[in-house]
């Protein structure tokens, strides 16, 4: 039983440790570039969300303050928001018809 507990703890630590690593500036820059590209695509589809813009701004602000953990997390969130808005834009190309009064 003790051995099993030890093993479980080791496995949990193995999984948790890499994600607990602090984000670097390079991590942030890569995440921000990906988020920015997705946001540009959403804007070109005329489906940009205000939250994408504000989250991108928050990411940049955190990076400017040297908090790359927060900057990285915000950039990832902005990318997810932008991708969701792109999905919305594409799915609505047909889906809007379901709402139409006929």
């Amino acid at each position: 039983m003790k051995r099993a507990c030890l093993l479980a703890t080791l496995v949990a630590l193995t999984i948790a440790l890499p994600s607990a690593r602090a984000a670097t500036e390079a991590d942030y820059k890569a995440a921000y570039a990906a988020a920015e590209a997705a946001a540009k695509e959403a804007a070109s589809l005329r489906h940009q969300w205000t939250t994408t813009v504000s989250t991108l701004t928050a990411a940049k602000k955190a990076a400017d303050g040297g908090d790359f953990d927060r900057a990285f997390a915000a950039a990832k969130e902005a990318e997810a928001l932008a991708k969701a808005s792109i999905f919305q834009a594409n799915s609505e190309k047909e889906a809007w018809k379901a709402m139409e009064i006929r």
Binding site: T50, V53, R102
Partner: protein, 287 residues
């Protein structure tokens, strides 16, 4: 071998005939038919709210709630848009630096014509709204354009709407494929979900008129532009149709488009056309 080949030929022939017979129906279903759309749109609201008088839909949330209606009727004795109306009347009559006035830019001297806007300009191939026409008038006479969302533009359109009060909305769609496309684009914009809230204009103003969203009672989409421009207590001031679209987008957490963008002009065209026959009630007042 001959029999199977003739069978195959027969099958292909039958398939072609079937396609030829069915394809016109598919085209017909996708055909842009503004008259049918307007009829369906109006009937939807008339049937959903059988106790609301048809001409009352232009009064937005007040048509949905008796208590609100009574409060609004009291308020109409000293309406909050009165200052804008007076300012608009004065601005309308004041000549530009070149001596001309707004009246020189519009049919009938700009009086009693609100119900004809927006219209489709067949030369330009685009929808022209009243706000756009007013700024074009200014620029053609050497004046700087006004902001599309409030202040002077709201005052001018308030005065022009007032001179059309009671006149039925009368939007025309010329026999021009570009006009039909503009109508269809406006319709698509109206029903398309956008923003993080995943709302379309229809989510509030077709599916939920009369219901509350936070403290607000939602207005029906039918006749929603007939009351424009409006004094909104929420804005503590006047706002134009452009302002209304921009605000709606922001509220769904969508980045608004530029005022008088093609999309906004087209959705104004669609919403105005489907309200044909309902009276102009602008300028209006809303909570």
């Amino acid at each position: 071998m001959k029999t199977p080949f003739s069978l195959l030929l027969g099958s292909v022939g039958a398939a072609l005939v079937a396609c030829a017979l069915t394809s016109p129906r598919v085209v017909a279903a996708d055909k842009v038919d503004p008259v049918a759309d307007a009829k369906a749109f109006q009937n939807f609201f008339f049937q959903k709210f059988p106790n609301v008088k048809r001409e009352d839909f232009v009064n937005g949330p007040y048509s949905m709630n008796e208590d609100m209606k009574r409060q609004w009727q009291e308020k109409e004795e000293f309406p909050p848009y009165e200052f804008a109306l007076d300012a608009g009347k004065e601005m309308f009559a004041t000549p530009f630096k070149n001596g001309k006035t707004y009246a020189d830019c519009f049919p009938n001297g700009g009086i009693g014509i609100r119900q004809n806007y927006p219209y489709f300009d067949t030369k330009e191939g685009k929808v022209i709204t009243l706000e756009l026409a007013l700024n074009r008038c200014r620029e053609a006479n050497g004046e700087a354009p006004y902001s599309y969302v409030k202040d002077e533009m709201a005052s001018l359109t308030a005065y022009m709407a007032y001179t059309s009060r009671g006149k039925p909305m009368d939007i025309k769609i010329p026999d021009d494929p570009r006009a039909l496309e503009a109508f269809e684009n406006g319709k698509r914009y109206f029903y398309t979900r956008r923003g993080q809230m995943n709302f379309s204009c229809a989510s509030c103003h077709v599916q939920s008129p009369g219901e509350r969203i936070r403290a607000e009672t939602l207005a029906p989409a039918l006749g929603i532009l007939n009351a424009m421009p409006i004094y909104r207590s929420e804005w503590s001031g006047m706002g134009t149709t452009s302002r209304r679209f921009v605000t709606c987008n922001s509220q769904t957490r969508a980045v608004p488009l530029e005022p008088q963008s093609d999309e906004y002009r087209d959705v104004e065209y669609f919403l105005s056309y489907v309200a044909n026959g309902l009276p102009i009630s602008g300028p209006g007042a809303r909570p």
